[in-house]
């Protein structure tokens, strides 16, 4: 009977997560778009609910809530459902929407054709997904084709790569945006002079376009009139219209160059406005708080880069997790005596809980920002489904990596369900990609930062 009760609890919480994902989709992501295909919203909410269930089961494992065998059952169920959604459902829908958006397919208007093309694209995806496993030493040969390990290992590779990329960029970008040290100084007069230049540019474009329009109108009005005049009229037509024709072409070229310039100027104005906002924000209390956090984050970032390098160079494999190590240090070196088991449970619960919440929140916020930047009314469905796929892969790999942060007795369930994966490989892979991502972000931000003040100073010399 307890299994039944446990399952009820699980399904209730899953329904709650599903509702949250549904609302998030409707209120945040699709704020500006009408929902034409409910199936997209459904798939997104389902993927979100399944991911949250995974985290929930880890927490239950630590706290010891629910029966052990029912936990195990739900783990398996959840993983199978996740894999089904990530490998079959989402790619299929993504392929379907991409195919139906293609121009040449729209002219055919036949459902059958679209479905067959979708199946073709999906099979190509499966092939590459399978091939992904070859260059990596992630599996031993004894597992069957349809086992969880095959799917999870490949999903894990993609997910860990994504995690490391985002982590690396985030670790570098975070102090850069928070710290006041990096703020460029922008005054109101700067902004005003830039805006004035932009508007002057617009005026010039308008004047030229007016001349083009007037010239076109003249040739149009003069055109029908001269047709009846025969050869002499034609000769006259040639000599009088030639300068006007060239004029129009020259003007159009000028206009194109000026329009490009106006786009550049506008982007600079946007940049200046953003800088001013940041400066104003940094003067508020919240801004000051984030400024201090920025210093801590930069220290953390440098430590992480250092430790990744050390891991790779010395081929270190971490054996104990930070919690046990921390308790060890406290007990052995500092001589405090306390109930290890009790504290390790609570601390791991706290640590893992914080990790989970921050990673979910961080991913949702990043996703929303990217969505607003990229999406348009045609591509909104495709992008949201891609995000659901990325979200699923991200959360699965964070479960894999989280194993490292938990004491031995709580790792059991992950190890049991996921079987014989080479976890150490994933950690090493994470370190490598993190290092690459962090270093290239530093280089990229350095270049961007360098360019702006110079441009800025050049303008102020006018």
């Amino acid at each position: 009977m307890s299994f039944f009760v446990d399952s009820c609890i699980m399904f209730t919480t899953q329904a709650f997560f599903f509702g949250f994902g549904w609302l998030f989709f409707m209120r945040q992501l699709f704020k500006d778009y009408e929902i034409h295909h409910r199936v997209v919203q459904l798939t997104f909410a389902v993927t979100f609910a399944l991911s949250c269930t995974m985290f929930e089961l880890i927490i239950f494992e630590i706290v010891g809530f629910l029966n052990s065998s029912s936990r195990y059952f739900h783990w398996k169920l959840d993983l199978y459902a996740m894999l089904f959604s990530l490998i079959f459902l989402l790619p299929f829908y993504i392929a379907y929407f991409i195919v139906s958006n293609l121009r040449f397919v729209q002219s055919f208007q036949r459902r059958r054709l679209i479905v067959w093309l979708t199946v073709g694209v999906w099979l190509t995806f499966m092939y590459f997904f399978w091939k992904l496993g070859d260059p990596f030493p992630i599996l031993s040969a004894k597992h069957g084709i349809f086992s969880i390990e095959q799917g999870i290992s490949r999903v894990g590779v993609i997910g860990v790569t994504l995690m490391a990329l985002l982590s690396g960029f985030g670790a570098v970008n975070c102090p850069y945006t928070y710290m006041e040290y990096f703020l460029r100084h922008v005054t109101d007069t700067d902004i005003q002079s830039h805006e004035r230049r932009l508007l002057q540019n617009m005026e010039i474009i308008l004047t030229k376009k007016k001349r083009i329009a007037l010239a076109k109108r003249e040739t149009r009005q003069a055109g029908p009139g001269t047709q009846r005049q025969g050869i002499w009229g034609m000769l006259k037509n040639v000599t009088t219209s030639l300068p006007a024709g060239e004029n129009v072409r020259q003007l159009q070229q000028d206009v194109e160059a000026l329009e490009e310039l106006s786009r550049q100027l506008f982007l600079e104005v946007v940049d200046l406005h953003e800088q001013r906002e940041r400066i104003a924000y940094s003067k508020t209390l919240k801004g000051k708080y984030f400024n201090i956090m920025g210093y801590f984050f930069s220290l953390y970032c440098m430590w992480k880069i250092f430790i990744s390098t050390v891991n790779i160079v010395f081929d270190r494999v971490g054996k104990t997790d930070p919690i046990t190590r921390g308790i060890e240090i406290v007990v052995v070196y500092l001589g405090f005596q306390f109930d290890v088991k009790f504290w390790s449970q609570h601390i791991s619960f706290l640590l893992v809980g914080i990790l989970i919440v921050t990673s979910i929140r961080g991913l949702l916020i990043t996703m929303t920002k990217f969505f607003y930047a990229i999406a348009s009314s045609k591509s909104s469905n495709i992008i949201v489904l891609l995000f659901a796929e990325i979200m699923g892969m991200y959360f699965i790999s964070s479960v894999l990596l989280m194993r490292m942060n938990m004491p031995e007795e709580y790792r059991l369930i992950i190890t049991e369900v996921l079987g014989d994966l080479q976890f150490n490989f994933y950690h090493r892979w994470f370190d490598v990609i993190f290092l690459v991502s962090a270093l290239s972000s530093i280089g990229f931000l350095y270049l961007a930062h360098k360019q702006a003040p110079e441009k800025h100073m050049m303008q102020s010399m006018y």
């Binding site: 778009y33 009408e34 329009a213 982007l267 406005h273 045609k378």
Partner: protein, 237 residues
């Protein structure tokens, strides 16, 4: 270029991706635009409009169409284009209901520009501000070809509600087809009536104050009424 042509400035506003650039291209060049990219900043174009066409008072004006890019990332910097506008064209996408609701926000942004700093882009829908609005407004719904036929009636009736609230005229069309704005169609007539209103407000009226006065001037002058005997709403030509 011998005779200086006077100009008026009309802003074309709406959410990102509704089709403002295609619309402006169709109005000014008379033909549909092939490819479209996201507008960064502002695209400007001109249309030579004959005010009071066919009468002895006919005069050519230059209508500047300022198509401001609608992406959210640049929302802090839009207001640089809004000053001294004489008319407003609000564009929404007929396939996307939310773009219509956002038109209120755009209208508020233009009207509140002088009323101090905005807080994070949230505008209160102030009925009074809108009713005191002096700017002539035209509401255009695009992508009419993309609506499936069974939804057409319902969607088109929805689109008149925003226009009603702004007390503006409205047009529904497809920017990819030249015939929707060809000379003589209802749409073209409405558009030229709107331009007439803008020009008149700019150059031919002296006293902009007083609500009763502005109400009166909002009605099109009797001259142009003779050119559009079918004065009532016809959605399709």
């Amino acid at each position: 270029m011998a005779v200086p042509v006077e100009k008026v400035k009309v802003l074309v506003l709406g959410d990102s991706g509704v089709g403002k650039s295609s619309l402006v291209h169709l109005i000014s060049q008379g033909e549909a635009m092939g490819n479209s990219a996201w507008t960064i900043g502002c695209n400007v174009d001109v249309k030579l409009h004959d005010y009071r066409e066919g009468t002895p008072h006919e005069k050519t004006f230059c209508v500047e169409l300022w198509d401001v890019g609608g992406s959210i990332n640049h929302s802090l910097s839009h207001s640089v284009f809004f000053n001294s506008a004489h008319g407003l064209i609000l564009v929404h996408d007929l396939t996307n209901r939310k773009s219509q609701g956002n038109l209120r926000r755009w209208l508020g942004e233009v009207l509140n520009k002088d009323a101090g700093k905005k807080n994070n882009g949230e505008f209160d829908y102030d009925e009074e501000v809108f009713s005191e609005n002096q700017l002539p407004v035209l509401v255009i719904g695009t992508k009419m070809d993309r609506i499936p036929d069974n939804n057409l009636e319902e969607v088109l009736s929805r689109s008149s509600s925003v226009a009603g609230q702004c007390r503006a005229d409205f047009i529904n069309l497809d920017c990819m087809q030249n015939k929707h704005l060809a000379a003589g169609t209802t749409n073209a007539v409405k558009l030229s009536r709107f331009f007439d209103k803008v020009i008149e407000k700019r150059y031919y009226t002296q006293d902009p104050r007083g609500r009763l006065g502005s109400q009166e001037r909002r009605r099109p002058p009797s001259m142009t009424r003779t050119f559009s005997p079918t004065f009532l709403q016809e959605k399709l030509d």
